[in-house]
Symmetry: C2
Subunit: 309 residues, 2 copies
């Protein structure tokens, strides 16, 4: 891998993504120094204490001064205000990127503020965990995962190449696509699964004929697999759904249509349709394991026995 | 734990549950000998080769001869025919149980065939994996998991107590409830999650604007969590849905209502409703971890890095 180095990297927002990025940068020696900003003092203090940043600032504008790479790691809804605040303080020649899960909205909110001479290149590393906050980060988060870059027309090829190598040095493989294709792809691979997981956990919580403690006790029958996604950060996910509305509504429409067909097969005791549907989905899991995007240990390798009590 | 021992245990069906049960029985020394039956010769041969059974039979009737414990480990739809075949060959005083995921239908299909003097006590160990077949079993499957018993009125207390201790010796904790309450509880904790998982994987497979290979590549964004459940045995799950129709349709109705409300919140940009829904689901995951029913390792402890490619 060719060398890549930034003299100063500014992380705006100091949660799971920023903390993991800091650790991945330190591991590969990608940054001379790291400055950071977070909305709350507690988060800023924690990030400093953990050594994730060399300096923290109570304004995003102050954090980006002198930085040749700026990474927006805030919930998507906060991007427009942050972009406006930092714009006058960005260094000429700096690269500005982000880690947001929606790309068209980020372009809409950030691009208008970016001054001439600053290279704005949106990115989305497809990696995460249900934990949030600066303590949640780990250096390996991006290893073996994909990072999608959605450069705008006229993006400087050198800046693009440098950011490409940066994400690779953090452990990612890179794909490039348009913001709108990204948003459609993520609507099915990430946003629909999350809304479904949040929904089923909510449905279970509201039952009056099965108690909450029964739902919890017997969750090993399948329910618990959904609760990991439903434990994700609420602010981040509210902003994703508000900012990828059209694609998510399209996927929800298809999902509900398909579910109605399955429901009808159950009502009319149509075992053949059920069997056909349940047979073809196995192959997809095997492909995901073959592609290195999930573990092939049965039951996600969960411990069975005294150790997990 | 008090001592429990059967001189001969017959396993009817030799898949994941039977093979795990065999290994758990061997571990705790619960069976003098184990006989088995499976529909296909390949499965019977494999079970014998793996040492899961001491003898195999090509009829269920032959397998139960002389057994003081008989465990039905077949898809639910096969119970009625099996019960009819084995009935004349069951030993007086024997305990007959099963591991089926639906209990009212098992009572409906099996009870009418059970001769006087044989103790029929339905059970359901809440444990599993997406793998199937005799090679899939492991001795620890039941450790730290719940087993629900649904005894009928007038069940012999001594037989009930003996089966209770048997499941405990296999590693399970025991709960007792009515078949109908079991079916309602499992409809939300297991059957609804599976039908949803099968459905979303099907929806993703059918998209024309996002390719199958894109769905697989970017599945780490959430989709892959559903594919584990959707890789479960199709015959077993077809039978579950055909035999727990009313409870599953009730849960599907509630799920769809709730999803429509979320969909409406997305369409009308109602961030407050979304945030409220996404905040309350986190607590349920923490309760599941506290109850020892899932691991608290982030991202299910999936490896990140070269190791999982």
């Amino acid at each position: 891998m060719s060398e890549v180095h930034f003299s100063k990297v500014a992380l705006i927002g100091l949660g799971l993504m920023a903390s993991s990025l800091s650790l991945a940068m330190r591991r590969a020696g990608l940054a001379g120094s790291i400055s950071g900003h977070a909305a709350t003092k507690a988060t800023r203090d924690k990030a400093l204490e953990l050594g994730l940043v060399d300096e923290v600032h109570d304004s995003a504008a102050a954090a980006v001064v002198g930085a040749d790479l700026v990474v927006l790691c805030v919930p998507i809804g906060a991007n427009a205000a942050i972009a406006e605040q930092i714009a006058p303080h960005l260094e000429p020649g700096a690269i500005l990127t982000d880690v947001g899960s929606v790309k068209a909205a980020v372009v809409r909110d950030v691009a208008p503020h970016v001054p001439e001479g600053v290279h704005f290149i949106p990115s989305h590393p497809i990696a995460g965990s249900e934990r949030s906050g600066p303590e949640a980060g780990f250096a390996e988060l991006f290893d073996g995962r994909w990072c999608i870059m959605t450069p705008l027309e006229g993006t400087d090829p050198e800046a693009l190449e440098k950011l490409h190598r940066f994400w690779q040095a953090c452990g990612s493989s890179i794909d490039i696509m348009t913001p709108s294709h990204h948003d459609l792809t993520l609507a099915i691979t990430s946003h629909l699964p999350h809304i479904i997981a949040y929904n089923i956990v909510g449905t279970a919580a509201d039952l009056e004929m099965v108690t909450r403690s029964e739902v919890i006790k017997y969750s090993a029958g399948g329910f618990r697999d959904f609760t990991r996604l439903a434990a994700s950060d609420p602010t981040m996910w509210r902003d994703i759904f508000l900012n990828n509305k059209e694609a998510v509504l399209e996927m929800l429409g298809r999902f509900s249509e398909d579910l109605t067909a399955l429901q009808r097969a159950i009502r009319w005791q149509d075992g053949e349709t059920l069997f056909k549907m349940f047979s073809r989905t196995r192959k997809i899991r095997h492909s995901i394991i073959d592609a290195g995007q999930d573990t092939d240990i049965p039951d996600f390798g969960r411990p069975h026995g005294a150790g997990d009590k």
